[in-house]
């Protein structure tokens, strides 16, 4: 059996190949005058000088430049030797760094993304909720505070409403209670109205017909009599109105998509399995 193996030509070939490789390696390593080469290029020197200048706000002196170059040489030698010794293996910091560089590749690619108008138009159309221009109102309101009216507040509100509807000469600013709430609000978005008057009041405006004094509308401040003077329903904006925001959101989405896609592509080249079944399988596990 062993004899037969020694007669196997393939083994001869392999042995020869190993011998050649070893001889070449030894020969190459110790051959005088042929060490690894480190070339200090002109652009390298320029870059070292520029880095120095960026920090110290002046170019390096020749002595300083010499130190920078020495330092660079030292670093280059150590890096090469460390790689030869395999010191980069299983080092969390280097692994992190490499991962970060891969991620940088992504962001470098996405940083220069320039969408076409058609792409933006489509994104705007596909995400109406994201860019909807909220309803806006201009209105006049009269407040009746429960602090001052107590149990009579509903009755009093009805009486004031009657005056507002019938006495056109009345200055609404003179009716109801004094308040820091604006009595008259210029055209304002619903979210902003909600911040000042509370969400219940803002929602109620959606249901009020403009032009006519109505109410009372309840808020945390009391009862309001309201006349909407201007009203604009919520609507989908044209691209020109919201271009910057659409661009920002489009780029954000695109970046996420490219990252996901890149990872998915790489994932096809790997099979990920779990030795023990965990409670929740990882998102990326695709093996048995």
């Amino acid at each position: 059996m062993v004899k037969r193996l020694f007669k196997e030509p393939l083994l001869h070939f392999l042995a020869l190949a190993i011998a050649v490789f070893v001889a070449y390696g030894v020969f190459n390593r110790f051959e005088a005058g042929k060490p690894d080469e480190i070339v200090i290029t002109e652009s390298r020197v320029d870059r070292l000088a520029a880095q120095f200048a960026a920090i110290w706000q002046r170019p390096p002196t020749s002595a300083e430049l010499k130190n920078l170059i020495d330092d660079y040489v030292k670093e280059e030698i150590f890096v090469r030797e460390a790689l030869a010794l395999g010191l980069d293996k299983d080092d969390t910091i280097i692994r992190r760094r490499l991962r970060l560089k891969m991620e940088f590749l992504n962001s470098a690619e996405t940083a220069t993304l320039t969408p076409t108008d058609a792409e933006l138009e489509k994104y705007l159309k596909d995400n109406p909720d994201k860019f909807e221009i909220e309803p806006a109102y201009a209105f006049v309101q009269v407040l009746l505070s429960p602090d001052l009216h107590g149990d009579r507040i509903d009755q009093d509100a009805a009486a004031v409403l009657q005056v507002l509807r019938t006495k056109l000469s009345v200055d609404p600013g003179e009716l109801g209670d004094a308040t820091l709430l604006p009595r008259k609000l210029e055209f304002t978005g619903k979210a902003s109205i909600s911040q000042t008057f509370g969400p219940a009041f803002a929602d109620a405006l959606d249901k009020i017909a403009p032009g006519q004094w109505t109410g009372p509308v309840e808020s945390d401040f009391g009862l309001h009599l309201v006349r909407i003077t201007e009203h604009q329903a919520g609507r989908a904006p044209a691209l020109a109105e919201v271009r910057n925001v659409v661009e920002r959101e489009w780029a954000n989405e695109k970046r996420k998509a490219i990252e996901e896609q890149r990872l998915a592509t790489l994932l096809t080249r790997y099979r990920i399995t779990m030795e023990a079944k965990p409670k929740g399988a990882p998102r990326l596990a695709n093996g048995p």
Binding site: A54, I93, L100, L148, L175, D177, L180, A191
Partner: protein, 676 residues
């Protein structure tokens, strides 16, 4: 030691109480029907018909600012130049770009900070979805200048940092996360305080290029989210001087856009811990770029008496030059944030029954609980109210008041989430984000005392009376100190000071018009005394947060130097809810407003208190020959504290020393009187 006279007024004067003053709409005893019929008889105006005192008040009540005719005033809103709306935001906010924030586990960048502030839902670094009850109007991201973005690089293993054993250990702890990361973060804060940071992170060769790229990326993000008129992303950074653990931090706020801000790199305390050097740097920036900066110191309460110390950084007595420069650059002080309130201390203001707010845990010592515990003799230079008094004393000596500042709120959150609503509190650091055990974690120990997470306060907001929501308008309002601080509520507060406000003005239906026409707003100097015998008078109005608790009372806090030049303070109640029932006692104090908090269910009802209060007040003890300041404090009814929401939602029990409810409040910037 300075002796203080701490008298309390026997009875509050000029009680222009909202409950009475505002009863102008419909008489309680007359029927609304008769009111309308009387209105019909009066075609010119129906105002008298709704006045309980009818004719008398109709003649005497000034409806309009002096000189403005009623007929011309139908649209008093058009064309006016003064601020009509208050904007709420955060002037103090950290993202993953701050070393300590990153080390404690924050992985959210400025982009997520802005999205959250604008009301979007964001997943916090601890994996919990977070959303505000309503958007903020503005946000200043003020990451630490010291090693801006550097810890991110330590974490990511920048080789320049890997050789240092401490940094390597920190890097590992950060990856471990949780309490281990939090402990590392505290180690970093201590190392910074003691000047013992690992050498590589302070090496400009390594740090400057990182800082530059992080700063410019930040300003670019700010530009992307700045939306004039709707949301302001104001540019800023924090200069983190903390010699020996004594907090001298300042936030620096830019009026400018990226083009100017990118011409510099933030000034860090590694360059100098001396505030005067910061002012030099700010001056240079303005000269170089034509831009504008202001600085807001914070956490005077953690400075061991150094915030308002009467010597400069080198230990020399303050000079006139120092006073001028400090007054120029440091126009505001942060009143309250997640690390407690800096208004005053019960030992300093024993007659102020509201002085213990946001004090527990923070009074043990300085930021890092190192050096010395806080002692009584440090207090007069450790809190804002007394800082203002020190300012008056320095002014008598130097001719310039170095401590002439307004009040503003901030959060100092380090998790990219300005989420300081009591029922929606995500803590200061990532390890304080919602969990059943967060309240009991130890934050810091020293002098035999322990600061727990439950000591942290869900506070505060910056309220800015700006003419519009833009970088320039907000900054200008801050510069003129027309701002106030809140403990986290969004209540509206107006304060005007002058010489001619009368109780009738509290009945004005146009408080702002009246106030601006007859006086100056918060943050300003009283106009010159027009005639001997006059006394400063104030018009103050407050309105509750649309989603918050009702109001308990409006107070005026007065500080002055007496004839002997000694500092004095006194608190006056100006307007309060339920005034018919609540009368000032012989000790000058009001009975408490009541309490509707149901701690077990973390709820309350607005069945007590008032939704709005307004009042005028005239200084009954005015002495025209001495310096004085006045600020208003508006206090809400009791509501549940964040700990109560935690106890309820997680079904846990906390020991009795953990407060479960409190009275939120606002503090207006002061108004100063200077004898001529």
């Amino acid at each position: 030691m300075m002796k203080q006279k701490r008298t309390i007024i026997p009875a509050s004067i000029a009680i222009a109480v909202a409950g009475l003053a505002l009863a102008v709409a419909v008489p309680g005893n007359a029927s609304a029907q008769s009111a309308t019929s009387r209105a019909a008889a009066d075609d010119v105006s129906v105002k008298g018909a709704f006045d309980p005192d009818d004719g008398i008040a109709r003649d005497t009540r000034p409806e309009t600012p002096a000189g403005v005719e009623a007929k011309k005033r139908y649209s008093p809103y058009a064309g006016r130049k003064y601020p009509t709306r208050v904007f709420f935001g955060d002037t103090h906010h950290h993202t993953a770009n701050s070393g300590d924030a990153f080390m404690a586990g924050n992985r959210l960048t400025p982009e997520q900070s802005y999205r959250f502030a604008r009301g979007e839902e964001v997943v916090s670094s601890s994996g919990v979805p977070a959303k505000l009850s309503r958007p903020l109007d503005f946000l200043v991201i003020s990451d630490h200048a010291e090693g801006l973005g550097v810890m991110l690089q330590v974490y990511d293993g920048n080789p320049a940092f890997a050789s240092d054993p401490t940094l390597e250990r920190w890097g590992k702890a950060m990856k471990a996360g949780g309490q281990e990361a939090a402990a590392t973060m505290r180690e970093l804060v201590s190392a910074q305080a003691q000047g013992k940071l690992p050498a590589p992170v302070k090496d400009p060769k390594v740090v400057v290029p990182i800082m530059k790229s992080v700063w410019q990326e930040y300003t670019a993000t700010a530009e992307k989210f700045n939306d004039p008129g709707r949301f302001t992303a104001m540019i800023g950074f924090e200069w983190t001087s903390v010699p020996g653990g004594n907090n001298l931090h300042r936030n620096v706020l830019f009026r400018d856009n990226k083009d100017k801000a990118d011409q510099i790199l933030p000034f860090s305390s590694w360059q100098s811990e001396d505030p005067e050097k910061l002012w030099d740097w700010m001056d240079k920036y303005e000269q170089k770029t034509g831009g504008k900066l202001l600085a807001i110191p914070h956490n005077a309460n953690l400075s061991n008496g150094r915030m308002f110390e009467l010597v400069d950084f080198a230990g020399k007595p303050l000079s006139k030059d120092y006073a001028e420069r400090r007054a120029r650059w440091e126009v505001l002080q942060e009143m309250m944030q997640t690390k407690g309130s800096s208004e005053t201390h019960p030992a300093l203001s024993p007659n102020d029954e509201f002085a213990d707010f946001g004090i527990a845990g923070w009074e043990y010592g300085n930021l890092t609980l190192e050096d010395k515990p806080l002692s009584r003799d440090m207090m007069p230079t450790n809190y804002l109210r007394w800082g203002l008094l020190q300012g008056l004393m320095q002014e008598s000596k130097l001719g310039v008041n170095p401590f002439k500042f307004g009040f503003i709120g901030g959060t100092d959150v380090h998790n990219s989430l300005t989420s300081i609503e009591e029922d929606n509190f995500y803590g200061k650091h990532v390890d304080q984000e919602p969990s059943p055990t967060r309240w009991e974690h130890v934050a810091k120990q020293g002098f035999g005392k322990t600061r727990y997470n439950w000591h942290y306060t869900a506070a505060g907001y910056a309220a800015v009376w700006a003419t519009e929501n833009t970088r320039e308008a907000l900054w200008d309002a801050m510069k003129r100190k027309e701002v106030y601080a809140t403990s986290g509520t969004r209540m509206t507060v107006r304060l005007f000071a002058g010489w001619d406000f009368t109780p009738d003005d509290a009945r004005s239906r146009y408080v702002a018009e009246t106030g601006y026409a007859k006086g100056v707003p918060m943050g300003a100097d009283l106009p010159k005394l027009p005639a001997a015998g006059k006394a400063p008078s104030f018009l103050i109005a407050a309105m509750k947060d649309a989603l918050g608790g009702n109001l308990d009372r409006i107070q005026i806090v007065k500080g002055w130097l007496d004839k002997a030049g000694k500092p004095q303070e006194k608190i006056y109640n100006v307007a309060w809810s339920d005034a018919q029932r609540r009368k000032t006692g012989n000790d000058g104090k009001l009975p408490p407003v009541g309490d509707t908090v149901d701690v077990a269910h973390a709820t309350w009802t607005n069945t007590i208190g008032a939704s709005e209060l307004v009042g005028t007040w005239k200084d009954p003890d005015f002495d025209q020959s001495v310096r004085a300041f006045y600020y208003a404090r508006v206090i809400e009814i009791p509501t549940p504290r964040w700990t109560a929401y935690d106890a309820f939602r997680f079904g846990i029990k906390m020991p009795p020393e953990v407060p479960m409810k409190h009275q939120e409040r606002a503090w207006t910037s002061p108004v100063w009187y200077t004898p001529s």
